[in-house]
C-alpha cells in the first residue's frame, strides 16, 4: 500500500467500499430484499405524509411479496 499516495489510497478505498456495497445489495436482492435505506429515502422524499415502515416491517413485507400471496412471486425457474 506504501506505493499509493494518500489521495489514490482514498480513491481506492472508496471504490472498494462501493464494490462491497454493490455485492451486499446484490446478495440481498437475490433473495428478494431491496435496499432499505433507498426505500426510506424514497418515502421521505415523495410521500412525507405516509408512515415509514421499520426495517422489521419492511423485511416481512418483502418476504411475503417474494413468496407469499397474490401468486405473482414465488416462481422458481428450472
Amino acid at each position: 500500500m506504501s506505493v499509493l499516495t494518500g489521495k489514490s489510497r482514498k480513491v481506492l478505498k472508496g471504490r472498494l467500499s462501493d464494490i462491497g456495497r454493490c455485492l451486499c445489495d446484490g446478495a440481498r436482492l437475490m433473495v428478494g430484499m431491496p435496499n432499505y435505506d433507498t426505500y426510506v429515502a424514497h418515502v421521505r422524499a415523495t410521500h412525507p405524509d405516509r408512515p415509514v415502515m421499520t426495517y422489521e416491517e419492511f423485511f416481512r413485507d418483502r418476504q411475503n411479496a417474494k413468496f407469499g400471496g397474490g401468486g405473482k412471486g414465488g416462481f422458481v425457474c428450472c
Partner: protein, 688 residues
C-alpha cells in the same frame, strides 16, 4: 483507423472462438482440454453480446436512455425501485439459474460433448438470450406486466387463457422432473438423505431466528445456516456408517416419492418465513458460491475431457434417453440454450427494477449468456468423467443390471471399457454403496464436480465430502423449487378454476387453497411416481416431456415478441424472433409427434403402451414385471401421450393466433402495440 481500433479486438476474439471450436470439432481419439470449450464459449458470448445484442437493442427495440422505465415512473421503494445494473444482474441471474442448466447438458453428454457444446453456444446467442432480452423489453415497456397479461393484451383473451393453462402444465412437469432428480440421487443413500432432511430443521431454525430473535439479519442467519449445513454433511458420513441410524435414512425410490409429496404439500401451506424464505437464502447463496467455485476450479485445473467428441449414440440408440440427435438433443438441453420458463422471470420482478432502458441489454441478454456458461461447465463436469463411469451412472437398470459385474459387462459391450473394480472404487470414493443407474444428472454432475473441486481444493479423500456437498447443493434448490412451485401452481390453478367458479379465486380463503394445493401436489406426484417406477428409468420419459414443454413455452414467448415487433411497425427486424421461434416450433413439433406416433417403443409413448398391453393380453409375464406393473406402464404412457397432445395444441394455437395478429398489424397502417405512456425524462439516467 478508428474502425479498426474499435472492431479489431472483437474480430480477434471472434477468430479465437472459431479456432477453439475448430480444434474441438477436428480433434479425434485423444483427450481434449476442457479450456478449449470454455474459451470458445466465452469468446463467442462476448462477440455476440457486443454486436448482436447491440443490433437488437438499437434497431429492433430502439432502446431509449431518456425514456423513463417503470422503476422510475412507478417508484415505490419496494418492488418498483431503480436499481444498479450490476445488482440487478445478480438478482436476475439468481432467479433464472436453477437445476435445468446443470442437468440437461449432463444428459446430453451421451452423444458426446460436441453436439451439446454447439447447441448451447449457438442456441443461447440466437434463441435463448434473444427471448429473455425481448420479453424483458416488452414487459419493461408495459409497466413490468407478466407474460400471461402480455399475451392477453397483445394477442387476445383466448390465447391468454391457453398460455396460462400451458404454463401451469409446464410447471407441473418441471416439479415432477426436479423431484425425480432428488429421488434418483437419494435412493438408498443414507448420507445424502440425512443431509437433505437436515436442511428442514436447519431452515426452520433460521426462520425463527430471522423472524423473532434477530429480525431481518439475512447475512448473519445465512452464515449460521451454512455452518450447520456443513456439519450435516460431515456427520452424515457417520450416520450412514452407523448400523443404528443408517436404516432411518435408507429409502427406496417409492418411499422417497411419498416423502416428497408429503413434504411438498406441508411446505407449501406453511408460512413462508418459517421454511421457504430461509432455505431460499441458503440455496441461493450456495448456488452462486458453488457455481463460482466450479468455474474457478475449471480454470485452475484445466481438466482433460475423457468423453469422446461424438459417440455412436447420435443415431438415437443411447441408453440414457432415446431418440435421434434431431430433434431430441435440442429438447434435452433446454435451459442453458433456450428456456421458456425465463419468460416468466423476465416479465416478473426484473423489468420493474431497471433504472435505464439501455441496461435491459446487459441484464436480459447478458444474464442468459451467464446461465449458458453454467450449462457449459456442467457439460465439462460430465465430460471429464471416464465415459464408462458416465454410462454406468446414467443407464437404466433394465439395460445394465444392478451389480458392478453386470454393469461393467453391459457398458463395456457398449464400447466404453470399465472394470467392476473401477465401479466399486468410484462408489467408495464418493461414499455411496452404489453408483449404478443414478440417472437424472445430479449424481453424475456431483461426481464430476467432486473430481474437479477435490483436485483443486484438497485431496482425493475429500471426494466423498464434495460429492455430498454437490448433491446437497442441487437438492436444496430443487426442494425450494418444489415448495415455491407448488405455491405458484396453486395460485395459477385457483386463477384457472376461477374462470368457471369465481369464488375459487379468493386466495385468502383456506378451502380453495387446500383443494388447489392438493390438486397441484397430486398432479406432479403422479408424474413423479410414474417416473420413479418406470423400468426404463423415468428420465427417458419425463425429461423429453419437460424439454418439449419448456421449449414450447419459449416458442410462445418468441411468438409474442414477434407480434409486438409487427405491431410496432418493425417487421423488418422480426426475423430476429421468427428465426428462433421457427426452429423451436420445428424441434418441438417433430419431437412431440415422434413421441406420439413413433413405432419405436423406446421413443413413442403409444407404441410402448401397445407393446405392454399386447403382452398383458397374451399373458406374457416373462420379463421382470408383473401384469399389474405392466398395466401401470400402459396407463402412464397414455397419460404422457395426452400431455404431449396438449402441448402440441397449445403451441400450434398460440402460433396461429400470433400469425393472425401479425397479419392484422401488417394491414393496419398505424402503430398498434400497447405500450405504457411514454414520459421521456429530461436528463439521461445514470448507468450508461
Amino acid at each position: 483507423m478508428s474502425a479498426l481500433r474499435m472492431h479489431g479486438p472483437w474480430a480477434v476474439l471472434g477468430i479465437v472462438g472459431a479456432l477453439c471450436l475448430a480444434v474441438l470439432a477436428t480433434q479425434r481419439g485423444e483427450p481434449v482440454n476442457a479450456l478449449w470449450i470454455v474459451v470458445a464459449a466465452i469468446s463467442i458470448y462476448l462477440v455476440a453480446y457486443r454486436y448482436y445484442s447491440l443490433y437488437i437493442a438499437e434497431h429492433a427495440m430502439r432502446l431509449d436512455p431518456r425514456r423513463s422505465t417503470p422503476a422510475v415512473r412507478l417508484n415505490n421503494g419496494l418492488d418498483f425501485v431503480p436499481t444498479d445494473r450490476y445488482v440487478l444482474f445478480g438478482h436476475h441471474f439468481a432467479a433464472i439459474a436453477g437445476a435445468g442448466p446443470l442437468v440437461g447438458p449432463v444428459l446430453a453428454a451421451q452423444m458426446g460433448y460436441l453436439p451439446g457444446t454447439l447447441w448451447i453456444i449457438f442456441g443461447v446467442v440466437l434463441a435463448g438470450a434473444v427471448q429473455d432480452f425481448m420479453i424483458l423489453f416488452v414487459s419493461m415497456r408495459r409497466d413490468g406486466r407478466s407474460i400471461g397479461e402480455l399475451i392477453r393484451s397483445e394477442l387476445g383473451p383466448i390465447p391468454g387463457v391457453i398460455a396460462l393453462f400451458g404454463t401451469f402444465m409446464i410447471m407441473i412437469i418441471i416439479l415432477a422432473v426436479m423431484a425425480m432428480i432428488v429421488v434418483k440421487a437419494l435412493t438408498h443413500s443414507p448420507w445424502g438423505t440425512f443431509t437433505v432432511a437436515a436442511t428442514i430443521p436447519i431452515a426452520m431454525l433460521m426462520g425463527v431466528y430471522s423472524r423473532y430473535i434477530r429480525p431481518g439479519r439475512i447475512g448473519e442467519v445465512s452464515v449460521i445456516g451454512f455452518i450447520l449445513l456443513l456439519l450435516a454433511i460431515v456427520y452424515g458420513q457417520d450416520v450412514a456408517a452407523s448400523p443404528t441410524w443408517a436404516p432411518f435414512f435408507d429409502y427406496t425410490g417409492t418411499q422417497l416419492v411419498w416423502a416428497l409429496v408429503g413434504y411438498g404439500f406441508v411446505a407449501s401451506v406453511l408460512p413462508v418465513w418459517l421454511l421457504l424464505a430461509p432455505r431460499d437464502y441458503l440455496s441461493t447463496f450456495l448456488k452462486i458460491g458453488t457455481i463460482a467455485a466450479l468455474a474457478l476450479s475449471i480454470f485452475i485445473l484445466a481438466p482433460q475431457l475423457h468423453l469422446p467428441a461424438v459417440t455412436k449414440f447420435v443415431d438415437g440408440s443411447g441408453p440414457v434417453w432415446s431418440g435421434g440427435l434431431f430433434p431430441f438433443l435440442f429438447i434435452t438441453i433446454a435451459c442453458g440454450a433456450v428456456s421458456g420458463f425465463h419468460s416468466l422471470i423476465s416479465s416478473g420482478t426484473t423489468p420493474k427494477m431497471i433504472d435505464n432502458e439501455t441496461n435491459a441489454r446487459f441484464i436480459g441478454y447478458g444474464g442468459m449468456l451467464m446461465e449458458s456458461f453454467v450449462a457449459i461447465m456442467a457439460l465439462v463436469s460430465a465430460a471429464v468423467l471416464d465415459p464408462g463411469v458416465y454410462f454406468v451412472m446414467n443407464s437404466p437398470a433394465a439395460v445394465i443390471g444392478t451389480t458392478p459385474e453386470s454393469a461393467s459387462a453391459a457398458v463395456t459391450a457398449m464400447g466404453f471399457a470399465i472394470t467392476p473394480e473401477t465401479i466399486s472404487q468410484v462408489a467408495s470414493d464418493v461414499g455411496e454403496a452404489s453408483i449404478i443407474s443414478r440417472a437424472g444428472g445430479a449424481p453424475t454432475l456431483a461426481v464430476g464436480m467432486a473430481q474437479i473441486i477435490s483436485s483443486v481444493f484438497g485431496d482425493r479423500s475429500m471426494m466423498a465430502f464434495w460429492y455430498h456437498f454437490a448433491i446437497l447443493f442441487e437438492a436444496l434448490f430443487i426442494l425450494t423449487a418444489i415448495d415455491a412451485g407448488t405455491r405458484a401452481g396453486r395460485f395459477m390453478l385457483q386463477d384457472l378454476i376461477g374462470l368457471v367458479a369465481p369464488s375459487f379465486r379468493t386466495t385468502s380463503s383456506w378451502v380453495p387453497s387446500i383443494i388447489a394445493t392438493a390438486l397441484c401436489v397430486t398432479a406432479w406426484g403422479t408424474l413423479l411416481h410414474q417416473g420413479v417406477s418406470d423400468p426404463l428409468g423415468g428420465i427417458n420419459t419425463l425429461w423429453p416431456l419437460f424439454g418439449i414443454s419448456n421449449q414450447m413455452l419459449a416458442a410462445v414467448a418468441l411468438t409474442l415478441a414477434t407480434v409486438v415487433l409487427f405491431k410496432m411497425k418493425r417487421q423488418r427486424y422480426a426475423w430476429i424472433t421468427i428465426l428462433p421461434a421457427s426452429w423451436l416450433v420445428l424441434c418441438t413439433l417433430t419431437a412431440g409427434l415422434q413421441k406420439i406416433f413413433s413405432t419405436d417403443v423406446k421413443v413413442g409413448f403409444v407404441a410402448a403402451a401397445r407393446q405392454f398391453s399386447d403382452r398383458i393380453a397374451s399373458g406374457d409375464t416373462s420379463g421382470p414385471l408383473s401384469a399389474a406393473q405392466m398395466q401401470q406402464i400402459v396407463q402412464n404412457n397414455y397419460i404422457n401421450t395426452a400431455l404431449t397432445i396438449v402441448f402440441v395444441v397449445v403451441v400450434v394455437s398460440i402460433v396461429g393466433f400470433g400469425i393472425n395478429s401479425c397479419i392484422k398489424a401488417l394491414r393496419n397502417p398505424d402503430w398498434t402495440a400497447r405500450e405504457a405512456a411514454d414520459s421521456t425524462i429530461a436528463t439521461p439516467a445514470p448507468g450508461e
